[in-house]
Amino acid sequence: MSEKTGVIVISSSDILCGGLMTVLARTEFAVDECLPSVPADTDAGLILVDPTVAGYSGVFSFDVPVVAVIHAVYDEESLSQFAAVLNIYDTRQAIIRKLRKVVSPSNGTSPIADGSELSPREKEILVCVAKGMLNKEIAYKYNISIFTVMTHRKNITAKTGIKSVAGLTAYAILQGLIDIESIK
């Protein structure tokens, strides 16, 4: 087996830490240590965190993928900040598959930085979406590919937290990007 990915587990539960160690034994993931709280620094390649640990969000300050390990019901929105979510009822195979996906080099998407505003192009695309234009119509208008339009739309949603067309339209009006009268 080639190089192992060093993993730290942050949880105050011995059962959870021990369980993960057992599950990840004889895989390319090596659990280096289990900590009850977020450390000041780490050289691990992957962090598994139990979001019930107070102050867990400190883990996002490290430049390391962070995976949540959940054992109860959590709000989907707060789970969306993690690179993946392991549930304690996941099978061993599912856990390993999810972790592999997180550390694989093809997984190049990085989270959007805090407080990023929409770019001028994203605002133009948003106005088109609000007016009810289809992706291909938007692509034609700006002479870009449909794929690029989709990427812009994805980024708009990631920045605003708004997914539906109705919600994006409301956002565009509230932001003064579009006049309410111009919508139908």
């Binding site: 019901v73 709000d75 549930n87 009822y89 605003t160 539906s164 409301a170 009006i173 509230l174």
Partner: protein, 232 residues
């Protein structure tokens, strides 16, 4: 003895006091109401309480477990024991509680937040809400007309509806989150924030409750319909 006993897994058991069940999981209070279990049960256990009120304790506890534990998924031997009439009764009454209590309450809170604001803001938010309400209403109607009857009749049809059903659950969750973000991030500062906070608190609770409701339906209805279809 070796048989898997779901009641021994997860902490909710038919022998526990109904009052302990609620005190340890306050979110389950809504489930009692929608399952038709009236309060005032004194020291009765879950089993006794259900028997006295002519409700199926097994089905009730299964719903409670799905609501209380995100990772709980009933197996096929448990699904076989579900009393379908109690399940569909519960789901129908959940729909009623959203339409008759939750949504009107939400609407009146939105009215308070929007009062005295510029027309454009009023129009944007209220139109978004009206669309959401219509969508929810249509979704409930589809379930009540297409899905529940096929469950009640021990599953025929309902096949095509299944895909739509899951998709619609996702859409509903998205719309509520959109409304939360619009109010939280983009509605310009207007009247005192307290009323917006009250509205948001209500919305967060509704979001969680609707997500639980969808999860109960996804965990029970889909496998039940599937199981019955494969028997035919």
């Amino acid at each position: 003895m070796t048989e898997y006993d779901a009641n021994k897994e997860f902490f909710l058991s038919p022998k526990m006091k109904m009052s302990d069940l609620v005190n340890s999981n306050p979110d389950l209070l809504n489930i009692l109401d929608r399952f038709g279990i009236r309060l005032g049960f004194g020291e009765d256990s879950v089993e006794q309480c259900c028997r006295k009120q002519d409700k199926d304790a097994f089905t009730f506890l299964m719903i409670c477990r799905i609501a209380a534990y995100g990772g709980y998924l009933p197996g096929s031997s448990e699904l076989d024991k579900v009393k379908v009439a109690d399940l569909t009764g519960f789901l129908r009454s959940s729909h009623d509680s959203y339409q008759d209590a939750w949504l009107p309450e939400l609407e009146s809170k939105i009215d308070v937040v929007l009062s005295g604001r510029p027309d454009a803001q009023k129009k944007v938010i209220s139109e978004f809400f009206v669309k959401f309400k219509d969508e929810l209403h249509k979704h409930f109607e589809m379930e009540e007309k297409k899905i529940f009857p096929s469950l009640d009749a021990i599953g025929k049809k309902g096949k095509g509806a299944r895909r739509i059903f899951k998709e619609e659950h996702d859409n509903i969750g998205e719309k509520i989150q959109d409304l939360i973000n619009l109010l939280l991030k983009y509605l310009p500062y207007g009247n005192p924030d307290t009323c917006v906070t009250v509205l948001l608190t209500h919305l967060f609770f509704l979001k969680k409750d609707l997500a639980t409701h969808s999860r109960i339906e996804d965990c029970l209805i889909l496998p039940l319909l599937k199981g019955w279809e494969s028997h035919e």
